[in-house]
Structures are given as structure tokens and as C-alpha cells.
Symmetry: C2
Subunit: 235 residues, 2 copies
């Protein structure tokens, strides 16, 4: 590889890093948008999150094209290849997180203000998951495997928060069947935030792999017991 | 590229195709497993689906490693590169579908027999989504863009079935709050099947891209209106 090739290769790697960081910022803004929309019950803000969704698709498409070009024209090996593939997969995870933000925004738009409860637990869960995304992307930017691992460990906590909220929502529905329809939407919003945390954990795993060249061997700690939950009224 | 390199490259491509096909068959078996488990309310069968989940992870890992090696050691361009990346992404979609099957299986294990209703609509939705996966994988195996496009067009139908079932489940919960807990699990099972259809559609899109080298330009037809649904009792 001559100097010229090598320089433009470095430029491409740095462009990949920039694009992924930009996509990370957009994802952060989308999550903050829906959280604020829930807190203030602001449907216009939720609608703006939906409007911005194509930005995520465009960024992912740009990253995809760049990666395909880099793989085709260069022969990346070892750490470079890991870096390129991590960029590709991180972009894919971010795009899915933006999809969840859009999904949540769509549900907010359809809700009535009086139906939105319990708001606090939902926002706490969403903020916790959003912080995981932020920290996973910082670990990616700084190539910090240790920080990535600490994000990875928080997956259990997000699962536990989700389980508690799930229980709260079931109780809420049982107390008053008129709340069933809205609470079902809240259940799906809660589930979306839990999935956001899961995808932040995926990013953290990839950052660890990119930096260390090896995968985390321990099984991911899980705290989601909603599938086997006995509802409060039956326990 | 000399004959020897070229031959072993062909071998790798064919191994990638075989691994992806094997993973497609496993995915099919996992979906059939949960559908039969729901139909006969067979918790042992559901437990076996959960036990087999690591097979999907292993296959995806093998495909990942093979693709990384092919990208690193060869310089695939144009159709070969598209084929390799489609294999990688298809494996990723299949792994997520297997995750949904495992998620559904976990919910079945925790349900009581008397709570499982409305079973028929749920099985219809699941079978429809499973058929989409099967047809998308056949289109992949046969490199048939036309068949892929016909899978892609069925996404709207799966969304409509999901929307109808969602409405049915809400009504069911409102009629008797004691059904809320179980019906919530059924809602998540329905949602999982809807997502399976979505991922089959993703595979179909990639097969079309692999064969034709261009993406489907029209927006994906959507029929999921559950987010904005007015429940039966309020309409």
C-alpha cells in the first residue's frame, strides 16, 4: 500500500467514525425527543421525532455504502476489519434504536393526555436506556473496552426496571378496565425502551470486540422476568 | 486469481450458502415448534425450542467468522460482495427470528392452558409469518428476485392480521379483567409473529438487492394500525 492509498484509507476510516458518531447523536436526540414528549405530553414533539426518522435511514445507507466500498477496494485485516465491521453493525443497531423511538412517538401521538400513566417509571426506564446508548457510543468513540463492559453490565438493571413497570401496568389495567387500551400502548413503549437498552448492550459488546479482538465470554446478565410473571391479583 | 484460489473461493461461497440454508431450516423448525406448542398447548415442546436457541447463535457465529475471513483474504467485488453481505445480513435476520421464537416459547411455558385464547387467530398469524420466512429463504436459495418481491408484498397482509388480532385481544381483556395478564402475553406473542413477518420482508429485500444489484424503490406497504387504534369499547 503506497502513501496515497494509505492516506485515503485513513480518511475513509475517520469518515466512518464520524458518520457513526453523527448517527449516535441523532439517536440520542430522538430518544430525548420521545422522553420529553412523554413528560410534557407534547404530541407535536412526538410528530417531529417521526419526521426525522428518514435521517437515520439516510445515515445508515451512507455508512453501508462506505463500508461496502472500503471492503471492496481495500483489503482490511485484523483491527481495521474489526473496526469497519463494528461501524457497520453499530449503525445497524442505532437504526433499530431510532425505529423504536419512532414507534414510541407514534403511540404518543395516538394517546389521550389523561391516559398517560404511570409516567414517572416509564420516563425513568427510558432515561436509563438512553444513557446506556450514550455511554456505549462514547466507549465506541474513545475505543474504551472497560467503559463498554460497564454498559454491558447495566442490561440487567434495565430488565429489572422493565419487569417492575410491567407489573405496575398490569395492576393498573386490572384496577380499571377502561385503562386497558392506553396501558397496552404503555406496555409496548416500556418494551421498546427495554429493547433500546438491549441494543446499547449489543453496541457495547461490539466495542469490546473491536478493541480487544475477543468476545465477552460470560452470559449476559438478565433481569427480565415479565414472561413468567404471576400478576399481582393472582399471587 | 489462480485456479486454486478461485476454486477455494467458490467453495467458501458455497459453504456460506449451505450454512445460511441450514440456519433457515433451523429457523423454520423453531417457528413450527412454537406454533405446534400453542396449538396443542405443549409446554415440553416450547421448552425444546428454548433449548435449541444456542444452535442459532452457533450458526450465526460460524457465518460471521466465514464472512470475515472471506472479506479479509479475498477481494470480493460486485455480485460476489453483494452475495457475501447478503449472507451475513440474512444470518442476522434469521438469528433475530429465532430469538422471537424463543421469546414466544418462554411465554407459552409460563401460561396456563385455560388462558390460551384466541388461539386460532394467533396460529394463523404465526403460520402466515413462518410461510414468509420459508419463501424468502427459498428465493434466497434460488436467487429468485421475483419470488422475493412477492414475499415483500405480503408484509401488508401480516400487519393487517396483527391489527385484527390486537383488536380481538383488547376486546377479550375488556370483557373480563381476569384475562388481562394472559392476554398481555398473547399480545406480545402476536407482536413477535408480526416482527417475524417484518424480518422475512427484510430478507426478501436483500435477496432482491443481491440478484438485481438495486434496492426496491417503493415504500414498503404497511397495514399495522395498532398504534393509533381506538379500542372497540370506545368506538
Amino acid at each position: 500500500m503506497n502513501d496515497h492509498t494509505s492516506r485515503s484509507y485513513e480518511e475513509e476510516l475517520s469518515r466512518l467514525k464520524d458518520l457513526t458518531a453523527t448517527m449516535g447523536e441523532l439517536t440520542q436526540e430522538q430518544l430525548e425527543g420521545v422522553l420529553e414528549a412523554i413528560e410534557r405530553f407534547d404530541k407535536d414533539l412526538a410528530a417531529r421525532v417521526i419526521e426525522r426518522e428518514p435521517e437515520a435511514d439516510r445515515l445508515e445507507h451512507q455508512i453501508d455504502s462506505l463500508v461496502v466500498r472500503m471492503l471492496a477496494l481495500r483489503q482490511p485485516v485484523a483491527v481495521d476489519l474489526r473496526e469497519i465491521l463494528t461501524g457497520l453493525r453499530t449503525a445497524n443497531e442505532l437504526e433499530r434504536i431510532c425505529d423504536y423511538a419512532e414507534d414510541v412517538a407514534g403511540r404518543i401521538v395516538a394517546l389521550h393526555a389523561t391516559e398517560v400513566a404511570p409516567t414517572r417509571s416509564l420516563i425513568n426506564l427510558g432515561q436509563f436506556a438512553a444513557a446506556m446508548v450514550k455511554d456505549a457510543m462514547r466507549a465506541y468513540g474513545e475505543r474504551n473496552a472497560q467503559d463498554a463492559q460497564s454498559v454491558w453490565l447495566r442490561d440487567k438493571e434495565v430488565d429489572e426496571m422493565y419487569t417492575a413497570l410491567f407489573r405496575e401496568l398490569l395492576t393498573y389495567m386490572m384496577e380499571d378496565p377502561r385503562r386497558i387500551s392506553a396501558s397496552t400502548q404503555m406496555l409496548f413503549i416500556a418494551r421498546a425502551f427495554e429493547r433500546v437498552g438491549d441494543r446499547a448492550t449489543n453496541i457495547a459488546e461490539m466495542v469490546n470486540y473491536m478493541v480487544r479482538g475477543e468476545t465477552i465470554e460470560e452470559p449476559r446478565p438478565k433481569g427480565d422476568t415479565t414472561k413468567t410473571m404471576v400478576p399481582p391479583s393472582e399471587s
